[in-house]
């Protein structure tokens, strides 16, 4: 969503043209049907990532937990959407409240105020729905860190609180026009499609939660092999496809910057995948499918904040670096012994941090020139931007970690979060949902 500021001038010119009233692409409400078409599509693509994530995670857990794990993603679709419509959008994109902690506007309750609003050629509803998908996927990502060991009720309450107290403020800071990170440095902290807001916040929160909740019974002694890597691979495929909406949609355009974001996304995903494949081949003698998928994710995560500012060569580099660092991070985790079940921190946390910081070295020249033109001194260096990036990353980390810990404790002490041992052994599916995933396994 970086695009807003950069396009200000352009948009002013365009708006003049629109209201000159002589174009078809406007349908009389100032709508650009082309941009709107791509934003609608992007919204669908990002929604597709939720079942994609459900499959990715669902395939990695043990058979008895597959539905429970998928429900972590699906429940987020339900809960976060309803909250978003009622007041979440307002908290993210309303004007600063409580000193800028989050946004608010009564007018945005139930999205009432935007029923016929159009901005920059796109109906506000579309922007709101597009953004709402990010509010769904972020808590769903966290669930990977404590997979296979939480109560469904506890989870449902947790993500509701987390969305309100962690996601919405962060989103406001980074993407709202009056958010303080949006206005840091010359031209803002760069977070094109959610490196800090989505991946770092989810990764760090997952880490905190995994440590707070403790490991799964038997971990790490008992191995817990994936129940369905085929499902995981399909999930990875859908995530890649959906990420086009995630990143290219974040341009809120259907133009050059959209194309640049799409290209960077594709390049980084591929580079990440190949890097992981090669590392694993040398390290373990075999290139696993899960490794390939993990590399895809590492690349995609790293390019998320960067997609608007890096060229293809930079995107390739980010993919390579992120996959390498995530690979190492997971090896270290295995040493440290905490149980981040599906590596939410190892991939999203590490990949997000890598991307948000390393992007500084691959920024497109034109962006730097524009940034410089916005400073008083007329100069702006990579190191200065690096400082802004590091600051934004640290702020996200600290905020997400502290708030998550508080929410965890509250939920765990009141209604309970961690599964009782009996339920964990029975599996989430039987304990919390009264079902099991693969009936076909048993003759009947």
């Amino acid at each position: 969503m970086e695009v807003f500021k950069r396009r200000t001038f352009l948009i002013t010119v365009l708006l003049l043209l629109i209201f000159a009233g002589n174009t078809l692409a406007s349908d009389g409400n100032g709508v650009d049907t082309g941009i709107t078409a791509w934003m609608l599509t992007s919204t669908a693509l990002v929604l597709l990532m939720i079942p994609g994530l459900a499959m990715f995670y669902g395939g990695l857990v043990r058979t008895k937990n597959v539905l429970g794990t998928m429900m972590h993603s699906f429940a987020a679709m339900g809960i976060m959407t309803v909250l978003w419509v009622i007041f979440g959008y307002g908290m993210c994109f309303g004007p600063n409240t409580l000193g800028g902690w989050f946004g608010w506007s009564n007018d945005l309750l139930f999205l009432r105020g935007i029923d016929t609003e159009v901005n920059n050629g796109v109906p506000d509803y579309v922007f709101s729905m597009f953004q709402g998908k990010f509010a769904i996927i972020t808590p769903a990502l966290i669930a990977g860190a404590f997979a296979e060991r939480v109560s469904f009720k506890g989870y449902a309450i947790f993500i509701a609180l987390w969305g309100i107290l962690v996601y919405n403020p962060l989103c406001h800071w980074v993407w709202a026009e009056d958010g303080f990170l949006f206005n840091m440095g010359a031209n803002g902290a760069i977070d094109f499609a959610g490196g800090t807001v989505v991946h770092i916040s989810a990764g760090i929160s997952g880490l905190v939660a995994a440590i707070y909740l403790g490991a799964r019974r038997g971990y790490p002694k008992t191995s817990m092999p994936p129940s369905n890597l085929v499902l995981t691979m399909i999930g990875a495929g859908l995530l890649w496809v959906g990420w086009f909406g995630f990143n290219a949609g974040s341009s809120v355009n259907s133009g050059l910057d959209t194309a640049q974001a799409l290209t960077a996304t594709q390049a980084a995903a591929a580079a990440g995948a190949i890097t992981w494949m090669i590392i694993e081949s040398f390290h373990q003698g075999k290139a696993t499918a899960l490794g390939f998928a993990s590399g895809i994710l590492a690349g995609l995560v790293a390019v998320t904040p960067a997609a608007g500012v890096v060229q293809p060569s930079g995107a390739l580099a980010l993919g390579v670096i992120a996959a390498s660092l995530c690979y190492i991070a997971i090896l270290i985790k295995n040493k440290l012994g905490y149980d981040d079940s599906l590596d939410a921190f190892g991939v999203h946390g590490v990949g997000g941090i890598t991307g948000a910081i390393m992007l500084s070295f691959f920024i497109r020249k034109s962006w730097m020139i524009e940034a410089a033109s916005l400073t008083e001194s007329g100069t702006w260096t990579i190191m200065q931007q690096l400082g802004v990036q590091v600051a934004a990353v640290l702020i996200s980390i600290v905020y997400a970690a502290v708030l998550t810990l508080i929410i965890m404790i509250v939920v765990d002490k009141t209604i309970g979060f961690r599964s009782p041992a009996k339920n964990e052994m029975q599996g989430l599916d039987a304990s919390y949902h009264g079902e099991h995933g693969y009936g076909m396994l048993n003759a009947s």
Partner: protein, 114 residues
Amino acid sequence: MKLITAIIRETKLDEVREALIENEITRITVIRVSGHGQQTREHIYRGKRIVPGLIPKVKLEIAVNDDFVDITVNTIINSARTNENGEVGDGKIFITPMEECIRIRTGERGGKAI
């Protein structure tokens, strides 16, 4: 030598395995099966509790030397039972005679191959 076959609840597999391992019975073969016995209530399907005709169960097969039969059987009974008193559906144990046991790797036979 005996072959001990136990049919237990799927959800008890971890518990039973942990208990067996504690008692040093580590070699075991596990099979997904479905069973029909006296058990009746189980799943929820669109707001209704349903009784699957065949309920998923897990079957353990454990070849043991004669002096291990009792401990194996008792361990299974204790760990596979629901609560103190058991519940319908907890399962069965069958004991059948076994004439020979062979370790494929070495070709060893009899008690020491178990």
